[in-house]
Symmetry: C2
């Protein structure tokens, strides 16, 4: 057919070819989407001239854009953020390889493989390798947690553990209580399950339990997600009194507590209190221990503790998701947990992180008297309140142009979003990099803060 | 208070103590659940005698049973099935360690760690390690698939890949087309997303494309899940003609094809056709390659191929789920894919599996003339139709008493469930174990088949 020629009507062609109306309609839609024809309402469909034909690559992409998905927007946006040109990363709460004992990890990994090469041809059961679970059980004893190996489930990192609990127990409109601020990765998970999220403020000694109690009367919570020790992002630690209170409240209102504990090994002075789970006698607490922060992050292995039917359901959900964690990485983490050098490695890591924290706080102190923060007593982040006239999102935009990033506090709030906080990770960079980054950050804060004409989102050109 | 004493009313106590009605109600519920009090409608709540108090352990469990969950029943049931006393496992479609080259895996893994120990202190990005993605890209060239590393996403096994696609693109009432029978693990995933599943029969040359076309007019499918090469469980391979047809249909109706390809390396005679993805010029096919069947199952690593916004959404969903696959296992699989010995290893594995298949078919042949099956041309399973008077679920119950298991065909059908099929895995056991297992299976089939008084579920005592 030639340019401008009219195509037969859908009804007519359907009759001629003996196919359904829908089939012809779809074919015409496809021709149109590929740019071969164009439709004029009331007139019909006509062949387009070839130079009008759109680029195939664009079409490819444009079709993809039409596929509806179930990914929460927050995370999609953070993925598309400009991370490529970042030289100074104060955003990721990881620990730099320089601070980790990779030689020890190497020695242990090689030994594990050397001693049991047949394991490379095997896979793990969905709940996890028994040797790994025994090693975790022994390790948890040192944290005043007496847990049998059969109550432990291997997970591929704490993040997977949170998602596993969410997909097993949380569905549309279930009420989830969260600290505000909290770990951003957990917010996306519960949002993607359609949960109703109720934020609870964090005080100096952890979550506000009075407010929690009040909200329990008003809502019917199904789960509380909490990060009680060196909380991400505020660094606060929940008091023993409040730990016990939480268990009592959970028992009274029959909700689950998901206790996420990636940091408790990394204290700078005093050993933090025993996990909430250690006060739980009625199976209300699911305990989650990630090993990526102090053993090998390359293995991405964690452990989840739960009992009875709760555990059975989690194992069932797990076997649908991915059949279980890799056997090899479980064996290596078991080897590291059983290593005689573990205590020494942890002591060194604590000292190094403590020094880093000190450096970071000194740099903040030199930076501006208008900043508010607390010297961290564990973990690897500092939570900073900016001067009143500096908007965190605006600061981030400026810092991006200088190849620097941090975590804006807004990412940590599940609902209402204050714009005055930022989280700085002080252990993700080598020391030089930290110093340079802090200098750039401080210069930018000071230049924004001192500008008479106060910046706001309204007069900022990019927004 | 004493046995038989009446508690104050909820309203009264609420007033006395100055707490909300709900709080008192909860407290009373808790006392009741713990067995301290009992309620009589219209009369009130009374203190129970102590010997009536239920066992605390039971209560612990009974509370857990009340927590609603979102796990599909099918998988929960299969988890609770009696797998503990199984000696003869013809059910799991894995490959026994004896048939895998664990020495080669060991050598490669040690080399990878030796050469780059720092990697043990690092983690992978959510889309996967670049070296791994390059190795996969090179490897896929040999399968007539030209895929750039940036279109590849590392997954922790093919099962995780299926779940990732499902959770990104499938939600309640979305229409998913599936082969009937199909891989059981995929059914649970799509069911757990609330999908409407439309089954399509499998013919000798793969899925019935005529039926598919008809159903596309009737429904608006969002995704077709297909296992085109040595299909699990039937062992059939989709013809080239049908592969091309599928791409055309997906383009016309704008649905996604999820091509799951764990078996195509393991052919016994002729190399199977190139993947469906190789005929896809418009980004409608998401290709999934698991490496656990022919490289190290202990690493549980696979690769997913997709383009443009589809891929971006998958990466975003992935970073919510578990932040990405372990770096270590990606590095090892990359090493195995790049190994000069890979071709030799694959050739040996093909020969071994072919011999196993031959043995298995001979044993079936000797067993009964009433069995129907096709000699497999690849993969590691045989799909068997039982004699008309033998019910597969009943056979399984009998076999369990003899410590033997297999996969009942019913597990492979998403909707209507025929009861005459079973799937036998011939590579999961050492050769002796296979022979013993087949003998037990055949004896049980023959004894059930020859019984004049035909067994049926109705007169079977256990059901």
């Amino acid at each position: 057919m030639k340019h401008g020629e009219k195509l037969p009507s859908v009804r007519q062609l359907s009759k001629e070819l003996g196919v359904s109306l829908v089939t012809v309609q779809k074919a015409y839609q496809q021709l149109q989407q590929r740019g071969y024809v164009e439709s004029f309402q009331g007139k019909g469909i006509f062949v387009k001239s070839t130079n009008q034909k759109e680029d195939v690559d664009d079409l490819h992409t444009s079709w993809h854009m039409l596929v509806p998905d179930y990914v929460p927007r927050a995370q999609s946006l953070s993925i598309s953020q400009p991370m490529r040109n970042i030289r100074y990363n104060l955003g990721t709460a990881s620990i730099h390889g320089n601070l980790l004992h990779t030689e020890w990890m190497k020695k242990t990994a090689m030994q594990v493989i050397e001693e049991n090469p047949h394991m490379l041809g095997q896979s793990s059961s969905a709940n996890g390798d028994l040797e790994f679970r025994k090693a975790v059980s022994d390790y948890l004893q040192s944290k005043q947690l007496s847990i049998a190996p059969e109550h432990i489930l291997a997970v591929s990192g704490a993040q997977q553990g949170i998602e596993l609990v969410a997909k097993t127990f949380i569905g549309p409109n279930d009420v989830v209580l969260m600290e505000a601020p909290t770990y951003p990765g957990s917010i996306d998970i519960f949002k993607s399950r359609g949960a109703q999220i109720i934020p609870i403020p964090v005080e100096q000694d952890g979550i506000d339990t009075k407010m929690l109690l009040k909200l329990c009367d008003q809502y019917h919570p199904k789960l509380l997600y909490i990060n009680p020790t060196f909380q991400n992002p505020t660094g606060t630690t929940l008091s023993v009194k409040k730990r016990k209170e939480l268990v009592d409240i959970a028992e009274s209102y029959h909700f689950l507590i998901l206790e996420d504990d990636p940091w408790s090994e990394l204290y700078f002075e005093e050993k933090p209190p025993a996990p909430i789970k250690s006060f739980d006698t009625s199976g209300h607490v699911i305990y989650l221990k990630g090993f990526s922060k102090f053993l090998s992050p390359s293995c991405r292995i964690g452990a989840l503790v739960a009992e009875g039917p709760l555990l059975e359901k989690l194992v069932a959900a797990r076997s649908i998701s991915d059949l279980g964690s890799p056997l090899l990485t479980q064996k290596i983490i078991a080897g590291l947990l059983q290593s005689k050098e573990l205590n020494k490695v942890l002591q060194n890591l604590r000292t190094d992180l403590k020094n880093r924290a000190k450096q970071c706080v000194q740099l903040l102190h030199q930076c501006s008297s208008l900043l508010t923060y607390r010297s961290p007593s564990g973990g690897n982040t500092v939570w900073v309140k900016l001067p009143q006239n500096v908007h965190a999102d605006l600061l981030l935009e400026y810092c991006h142009t200088k190849q620097l990033t941090f975590l804006p506090g807004s990412a940590c709030f599940p609902t209402h979003v204050p714009n005055q906080y930022i989280r700085i990770s002080f252990a993700g960079l080598p020391l030089d990099g930290l110093k340079q980054s802090m200098k750039i950050l401080c210069d930018t804060i000071n230049s924004l803060s001192s500008t008479r004409n106060q910046y706001s989102l309204e007069n900022y050109p990019i927004f």
